[in-house]
Symmetry: C2
Subunit: 142 residues, 2 copies
């Protein structure tokens, strides 16, 4: 298996609410809800750097598509790490997320591994860690 | 907020079991468990293409680190999409995952959106979709 991930799909309860949070709130670019010509097809895509796509898809459709039972909401199944290059950027992104309606569960502060980070939850409870790691420079180029 | 994700962290119950599945089973490269010099620090990293890191971290430590209650196991919170360039590659990756001990929940087959895909679950129940999308060419370059 080649070491790549093409799409990270978040299970959501309300596609329009999640789209608003990520597009209007966090400023990610998207064409909005697409795929509505198919039953079970309504989905939202954001193209991120590194050719990764972030997708939003209803939890019930994730269950349908993968043929598994729909599970309960749970915030500790995964986290999304968004690294920036200094503490100020961490604070700015955390503030932007809060304004967008995120729940700040861990305000930004020093971490045990020598960095500076905070966590917020999106409207579906998915955890984002906004982090500055002094040993990791994040390039702006795609 | 800049449109990038640096790390996708999977909450796991057993770090060594998850490492075995991803390193020995799927063939992803890793230095193994690192960070053990810190309490709550034990973690596994795999560097993927596009500068994305895949991390494994115990669910209870995700809860500790993000300061949220540990949630129940749930497979419909997110899915990881791994795209390849033809149906044969989908079949090969699905077979490799099965040999590695994955649970194939949806055998590969034609999809409603015109592609060919299947789903498996890793030992922690996390869903991977292995997909060929005729409209998406996946480059091998990093």
């Amino acid at each position: 298996m080649k070491p790549h991930v093409t799409v990270l799909t978040l299970g959501v309860d309300d596609l329009e609410r999640a789209l608003r949070f990520y597009r209007e709130g966090l400023g990610l670019e998207s064409e909005g809800i697409v795929g509505t010509e198919f039953e079970h097809g309504a989905v939202v895509f954001f193209l991120l750097k590194g050719h990764l796509m972030l997708a939003l898809y209803p939890r019930k459709e994730v269950a349908w598509d993968a043929q598994v039972p729909q599970g309960p909401k749970s915030s500790t199944e995964f986290t999304i790490g968004h690294n920036v290059n200094n503490k100020e950027e961490v604070n700015e992104v955390m503030a932007q997320a809060r304004r967008a309606g995120a729940q700040v569960v861990k305000p930004a502060g020093p971490t045990f591994w020598g960095g500076y980070a905070g966590y917020f939850q999106d409207p579906d409870g998915h955890l984002w860690e906004i982090a500055w790691n002094p040993q990791l420079r994040v390039e702006d180029a795609p």
